[in-house]
Symmetry: C2
Subunit: 446 residues, 2 copies
């Protein structure tokens, strides 16, 4: 009898798990269940369809139907897993016609993802209030954009800012409201966030920090958002106040949930239930620096976890070492990125850090088109290890974040980074690489 | 009495040494001697003035005269060090008027650079034959370009190719001749070099490999180059057959020269003579992977060595850990880079390596503007450590080379690289970073 693997969720984590499982066990029966009635797609691309950079939501769909056939995946779209019995090793599915089926599994992977958090704001259920989490959400917003002149985005995480930029790109006036004192609080410290805010304001985005949206006004349809006593006009309101892991199925089945509200997993992505794995937004993992339970909520972590879960579910062996939360985004004509921890998170988790910060250029200053770049480096005081990096710059942020991520992964000290053998050519960087100079700045403060 | 530091050479290594010496000893007397009658400039920028990307050679000059005054450098331009007595600790200088002066030193730094190698080709001394090593060379080529229709470049190193691209950019037909079987032999293996060659040929560059230039033809003035029986028309011939370290002064003074023909140094950049340091193109250092004497001939190594020499010459303590030869260049609309060793060098130095190679994209495939990128990774068979990387791609090569350079420096294994926590956003990279995928490809072959 071939091994029977059921995967609940078919986006980043689920699809990657399925592929890894197939590579590990050519004979396994793999059932891929997706609540959404869409094949695997790239959620991260949604704001760029709104902005017009990507022509259609169709483009975000990763594989053609033939791929699932070729991989011998039993793909079930529009199907929800409603009940899980980890003793009997069965899962109950309801398809789009409402038909129920209970299937047995040898291994099960929970890749149930997350859902947008709905803050308790008066009027949040009005028409014209959206979140951007699925293609369906995207289609609804895109339709509303056709006759919209103004938008308010509640929340200044990456989804919030990327959506706000998309509105600007389409000629819609946009305002972002952030309850906390600075934007991108998960990613950047206040000094770096301030840099990003100034750049975004220069693009025409209005940003309100340190104030919560008090109410969404309008009759049936939202017409504005009340914040700090001011009513801001809005034909569209997007709530981008973060996401929460989808854990109902796991919870009902008695699977342990962690302090981050994600499903607890070990380094093989095994949950507390035998032969049940979790991966992606719904799964709690460990932060490599704080060594505490953590919820990356990132596509990159999702595919990595999915792959590990898939290998293990198919009888192989793989481990996920935890996450550094490495993140990057392009906002209009500049990029921001971060890896490891911020000063804020360092103090929350009891790490004493030293900061090295530098402003540099992305090319030789005499080479046309050189753009500014700001690097902030965090060094753990006792061990002198690099534990975090934040970068805001006109170009080439992504691979610098990757370089810092490798440095952190390898326990590189700031002294070692200061000696790094970086490369140089006038049109693509400076003689002294900014991340190396940031290391030198940190050394001066040790 | 303040410490007296004499630095022979005032470009990348010399100027960096002077700055580091000043930071280490605020009181020192620092004499900066430059054979060229030009202030410190960026040699790497020369081809881009020819290509028109940089408006003038003036732009390459790094510091204004006020900088030297502010740093209290006694800058002597057009001045040659003709004799060095390491017993008496004196150096004899001849200025541009021919005036001789013997000065004493407490520390001396040899940053004498290199000179273009002149291969024994018939007709190489004809008019219209150039090399591109100094601003003066650049000015002469730029003048000749005004009435030139065609050019031949002898040698396919970075200077050769960058110069060839500059000719194309200015509407001059260009042919590159490479004696060895593939272009960029110091940097790339044949498979990757082939990739670069195809891209360059598509830009209209003619490339002849595996054949030596036999003669430069023409009466007084070069009119062509004879290669493999064919005469290729050339109003301009550029000889870019590599450079040789300038070591006459050191040799005459009895300072030890290494097997690479560079001045032998230890990790503090000390030569065999007491209180004499060497840095930059003239200095032999160690290759971090082969652990053998090596001559990086790179601006990045020059500034790093200069800094270390400057600190030590001023009574401080600093070490240079050797070089990984990390290199990058932009050629027309793509970039190439390398770090560590190639397969060719691995076999020369007795390292058994495994290769992981992958073609990927620089953005999500659905994101407009995605460019192809090819990554080749070298893994040492016994230790599984990353020992080399070569990348050819449409964009974002530089920081990937830096990431691999950090990985090599930290003795990262290919297994660790396969687990790297890289970041992702559709407009700036793919979910699975190509260098991580290259690691997985290598693992399959272990």
């Amino acid at each position: 009898m071939p091994r029977k693997i059921v995967i609940v969720g078919a986006n980043a984590a689920g699809a990657e798990a399925a592929v890894a499982a197939r590579k590990t066990d050519r004979e396994a029966e793999i059932i891929l269940v997706n609540k959404e009635d869409t094949r695997t797609y790239s959620r991260c691309g949604l704001p760029f369809v709104l902005g017009g950079q990507i022509p259609s939501f169709e483009n975000l769909i990763v594989y053609p139907p033939s791929f699932y056939r070729m991989m011998k995946f039993d793909l079930r779209l529009g199907t929800t897993a409603v009940d899980l019995n980890t003793e009997a090793k069965t899962v109950e599915l309801v398809d789009k016609e409402g038909k129920t089926e209970t299937i047995e599994y040898d291994s099960l992977i929970l890749a149930t993802g997350s859902h947008p958090f709905k803050p308790p704001i008066d009027g949040i259920d009005k028409e014209g209030v959206f979140s951007l989490h699925t293609i369906k959400d995207g289609e609804a917003i895109l339709k509303a954009m056709k006759k919209a002149k103004s938008a308010v985005i509640i929340g200044s995480g990456l989804i919030g800012l990327e959506t706000a930029i998309a509105f600007l790109d389409q000629g819609i006036k946009a305002t972002v409201i952030e309850m906390l004192p600075s934007i991108l609080p998960r990613l950047l410290d206040r000094d770096m966030a301030r840099e990003v805010q100034l750049r975004l304001e220069r693009k025409g985005l209005r940003i309100i920090v340190g104030k919560a949206a008090e109410a969404i006004v309008g009759n049936e349809r939202a017409t504005g958002v009340l914040v700090g006593g001011e009513e801001i006009e809005a034909d569209i309101v997007v709530v981008a106040a973060g996401v929460r892991p989808n854990t109902e199925l796991a919870q009902k089945a008695g699977i342990e949930i962690g302090e981050t509200r994600g499903i607890k997993t070990n380094i093989r992505m095994e949950t507390s239930a035998k032969d049940v794995y979790a991966a992606g937004d719904c799964a709690e993992t460990t932060h490599i620096i704080t060594r505490r339970p953590a919820l990356p909520l990132l596509g990159t972590a999702a595919v990595r976890e999915g792959k590990v879960a898939g290998v293990n579910a198919a009888g192989g062996y793989a481990v996920f070492p935890g996450s550094l939360f490495s993140t990057v985004s392009q906002l209009s004509d500049f990029e921001i990125g971060a890896t490891g921890i911020t000063e804020f998170w360092a103090s929350r988790f009891g790490l004493d850090v030293i900061v090295g910060k530098i402003s540099g250029h992305t090319r030789a200053t005499y080479y046309p088109g050189a753009k500014t770049i700001k690097v902030k480096l965090l060094v753990e005081r006792e061990t002198k290890r690099i534990v975090g990096g934040q970068i805001v710059g006109g170009e080439d942020v992504t691979q610098r974040i990757n370089a810092l991520s490798l440095a952190i992964q390898m326990n590189m000290t700031v002294y070692e980074l200061a000696k790094a053998d970086t490369c140089y050519a006038p049109s693509v960087c400076e003689t002294w690489e900014p991340i190396v100079l940031a290391a030198e700045m940190a050394i001066k403060r040790l």
